[in-house]
Symmetry: C2
Subunit: 304 residues, 2 copies
């Protein structure tokens, strides 16, 4: 049996279309959702992420408010700008692109984001509410809620399942685990200190890998029939048959390719469904960010 | 092999003595920690809990600020009082005894407690920080941190263990799970929707039961050699040999006894260590509350 390959691109597109339709309706009433994206410095990966986010805003009719600071901006200046965005009625979501330079305390900046505009869902209040019964946060973090969305659309029964989450980061592992728990899965959180990891993983009906180790999850760690969601994005060199790196003619540098935390080729032979990398969870993050921005706007407009 | 019976009374007394010694030192410098206990109405169990807390404060030299409201107090009046306590420099911890009457929104009241005085540790910010890496909350909830304290004092190795938490309440299950995770246990959270519960529980090196079902955890659900912490407090009628209830001569009512969530007599034969009910986790809650109040005071005095 070969697994269903979960098409994250298609699901993300469907979500973007849903958001766009709602945004269009809001704009017809003179209400325009707005997302502020704040970037400090010019890390190529950060620039690329922020550019995609801004471009997607424009495609969906969401007002994009771009804020750029040089690498050496002071914490106070950045903080003051974030606070102005918090009180700006045109802004319904504030995204501060991480990581920030070392001289800036990330926690201080993120805690300054008003929880009603915390579209990233990283404020401790939103994380706390994610885990607590009867305390729905306004926003769930984008990548984790993208994972749940994919599971739902591929027909995984979360509520009676055993779910294993590999990794406990603030950005993915912990919030995914809390979301799965909120959906009545029996959740186990594994990490670098876990003993007998393969055995624990094999108990999972739903396995979410978010540890950043290329092809770490091998077929012997997966229960036949499981749903496997690969959140890992790792860059590996492309090799020639003799093991030497392939050099790009254009750049003169070794060519790289993206691989996930899961040994896709082997695991797809035994799973019920699996996300590829790229094209699985990746495209979901921005789609869920747009969904969160729409939600923030509806909240601000009194429409929730 | 018979398990070590974990003496929560003795551990709680040791902690109270440690707190008392520190409070005495602070008071010698003219610094007195203070705990405000707020009770609404006169539920007998709530009155009893609050009375114990106030009495313990006095024994340890902590200033006890008692605040009582009638059952029909308005939410606004209660809220205003909580806010005054937040800005009162003599108050370093605020405990609002739960449950509150139905006409009062518990979440609104608890969220009004300044997180620097949230000695109960129930504010979503504190819960969020409990789970997040690199975000130590000022206070961990009392009963859950009492569980960890007992495990530590009885020599359980949390960090390489598999821990199973039965129950996911905001007050015990969820925060215990997050504390164990923070200590590098591999944590599974089980609840009423969990399938094959006995099998999951049997994988636990550390089993924490917090579901409020008398003697629910039977010996076949426990791995030989496990550490078993029983947070349950259930009231059962005392029965005569013929099955009829024993009537108290004093009160004329059926006599009751407290039992935990664990079938103590059977499980103690296979566990390494186990807490009894009463006398296990129970006494820890107030001791940890005193420890938190001391911590809040040291924070306010700039001594942390």
């Amino acid at each position: 049996m070969t697994a269903t390959i979960i098409d994250g691109k298609a699901v993300a597109e469907a979500i973007r279309n849903e958001v766009k339709a709602e945004v269009t309706q809001l704009r017809a009433k003179g209400l325009t959702p707005g997302l502020a994206t704040v970037i400090v410095g010019a890390r190529p990966d950060s620039v690329s992420y922020v550019t995609s986010k801004r471009k997607t805003c424009e495609e969906l009719g969401i007002r994009s408010i771009g804020v750029e600071f040089p690498e050496n901006v002071s914490q106070d200046e950045l903080l003051a700008r974030v606070r102005r965005l918090c009180s700006d009625p045109q802004v319904h979501g504030i995204l501060v692109q991480l990581p920030l330079p070392k001289h800036i305390n990330e926690e201080v900046i993120l805690n300054a984001v008003n929880i009603d505009k915390d579209v990233d869902g990283f404020h401790p209040v939103n994380v706390g509410k994610l885990g607590m019964k009867g305390r729905e946060p306004l926003f769930a973090p984008c990548t984790p809620s993208g994972v749940i969305e994919l599971l739902d659309r591929v027909g995984a029964k979360i509520s009676v399942s055993r779910a294993v989450v590999l990794g406990r980061s603030n950005i993915v592992g912990l919030p995914v685990a809390l979301l799965l728990l909120g959906r009545d899965a029996t959740v186990t959180i594994c990490h670098s200190k876990t003993q007998n990891l393969a055995e624990v993983c094999r108990q999972a009906d739903i396995l979410v890998a978010a540890i950043g180790r290329p092809r770490f999850v091998t077929a012997d760690m997966v229960k036949p029939g499981a749903f496997v969601i690969d959140v890992g994005v790792n860059s590996l060199p492309v090799l020639n048959p003799d093991g030497s790196p392939v050099i790009s003619e254009k750049t003169g540098k070794p060519r790289t390719k993206l691989v996930g935390d899961v040994d896709f080729d082997a695991v797809k032979e035994i799973a019920t469904a699996i996300t590829p990398v790229p094209g699985g969870v990746g495209p979901m993050t921005i789609a869920m960010l747009m969904k969160n921005t729409l939600r923030g706007a509806k909240h601000a407009f009194g429409l929730l």
